[in-house]
């Protein structure tokens, strides 16, 4: 579905290849600043790599290149950013506006937005993600961090994406929300066959969710661990560059 070929995050760094299949959850781990963030941003077109290409398989079986974020969104990529306050929520806008913003064009008849349909979708997601908010027109700032994150997740799910890229999705959310998000991610992958790429700063999270993990070191993948090799000490060893020895 999503494929990265020969992606180099900097000159002379080892190229990264990744092919994410249907229903697969791939984790990205590494010490802060070792390239995993740049890599997930490359996958969604936010970051231009030094070399290499990222492609998405479209409905007619072609591989379309990802070169810009809005282009990637049109191809069915959903990217949940890490900095919820800075680049996630639209402060001052309502819950509904925050939810609806990405899905507006696909809920329009001849360009005119069908608000009723979008309100219906929001109610469905409220149920499914157990979101807590007073009214759809309440300001987003009145929600807890976890509920804001659920609104952002619902924003992308409403677009019915082909691939979801999650950049530290449970940062600063409470435990209940975290479990709910994990369930939702698993459901998306298992039941809908949606591929997910999850960057996480918490190794626990990677171990719980992912089928395999790419561990980054010095802006390249130092080690790839499959389901049966996934263990806390191996991931940590790879993070510190002791992958080959372990």
């Amino acid at each position: 579905m999503l494929e990265a070929r020969g992606v180099q995050l900097e000159e002379a760094a080892r190229p990264i290849d990744l092919a994410v299949a249907r229903g697969e959850i791939v984790g990205l781990a590494g010490l802060e600043g070792h390239g995993q963030e740049a890599f997930i941003e490359t996958l969604c077109g936010l970051h231009r790599p030094v070399a290499g290409t990222v492609t998405i398989r479209t409905d007619d079986g072609d591989d379309a290149p990802v070169i810009s974020l809005d282009g990637a969104v049109r191809l069915g990529v959903a990217y949940l950013p890490r900095d919820r306050r800075g680049t996630g929520i639209l402060p001052g806008q309502s819950v509904f506006d925050n939810f609806a913003i990405a899905a507006l064009p696909r809920h329009a008849t001849l360009g005119v937005v069908r608000r009723r349909g979008l309100h219906q979708r929001l109610r469905e997601f409220r149920e499914r993600l157990s979101m807590v908010y007073d009214r759809p027109d309440a300001p987003i700032g009145t929600l807890s961090g976890g509920n804001q994150q659920k609104v952002l997740l619902a924003r992308w799910l409403a677009c019915e994406p082909r691939v979801m890229l999650l950049n530290d999705p449970t940062r600063g959310v409470d435990l209940g929300t975290r479990m709910k998000l994990y369930d939702t991610f698993r459901e998306l992958a298992r039941l809908e066959g949606m591929p997910l790429v999850v960057l996480s700063t918490e190794i626990e999270e990677i171990l719980q969710l992912c089928d395999r993990v790419l561990v980054f070191r010095e802006r390249a993948v130092s080690r790839e661990l499959g389901r049966d090799e996934l263990a806390m000490d191996r991931v940590i060893a790879a993070m510190f560059g002791q992958g080959a020895a372990a």
Binding site: L46, L69, D70, A72, V73, R74, Y79, P81, G86, T87, G88, I89, L90, P91, G92, Q93, D97, A100, I101, A102, L104, P105, A108, G111, V112, V113, D137, R155
Partner: protein, 316 residues
Amino acid sequence: MKRLLARRPELRLAGGLFIVLLLLNLILNPVRFAPANLGVTLGLAAPLIIAAIASMPPILGGRGGIDISVAPLMGLVNVVIVRVLVERAGMTSPFEIVPIVLLIGLASGVLNGFLATILRIQPIVATLGTYLLYAGLTLTISPSPTGTAPAWLKSLAGTGSILPILAVMAIWLLIKRLPIHEHLMSVGSDDRAAFTAGIPVTRVRFLSYVAAGLFGAVGGLSLTGLIGSADPNVANSMTLLAISAVALGGVSLAGGKGGLVAAALGAIDIFLLQSVLTYFNVSTFLLQMAYGAALTVAVALNSERLAQLLSRGRRA
């Protein structure tokens, strides 16, 4: 009305001011505001109302978005209609003049949008450039007041004065139903978050300038109707009044908050204030000061910072 105010708190101040000023005007000047004269009175206010509405979309887009060339564009449209289209090209029919005028507006919007969003020149500098360009062009075409406008245009100052406003409102209502409106508000709210949500930020802002140009051209029609001739000096003074009206109406100059009702209400407030003060034969210099004071007080009252300071004072 009450529900509208509850949902749109930024309208409260301009709405309150509107009621007070309207009552004052009704007491002081009952003839002018009698139902029979409403068309003429609205004709007096229409150019400023439309100028304010035209100034609004780039401001909603945030990050310093502003179009100060709206009023000079209206002046340019005015002299082009009277001196070029009517006198030189001999056109009289609205079906010839209106499309040309709208095209001028679109071209101006595209130029401003190109400078401010694609070349990313500071919007205030970019539109100051086009401001001077239009003002100079206007004076070149018609150095002094002269000529007459066609009769159908003059009727826009009387019975038909609501038409240009209705046209602008209709266009805005259409825009409000399209994704672009929500996109513009979200870009104004936080452009980085909007970008991360896959919104083409530059295109949305560009289109906000195009809308400003289009509305400005309609304002030019209304202005021509009001003065009935070509006058190169009338429009420019409206530049800052239009921006003031937008701010007075509660449209956030930081972007993302406000709408057509707010901008129009702000413009009507300024017009009513003007009307009250002229009744007392106040000099134009004092009039300027009154605008300045009203604007500063209004923006201060609308500011969230003041609310914060007040609530902190109450708690302490």
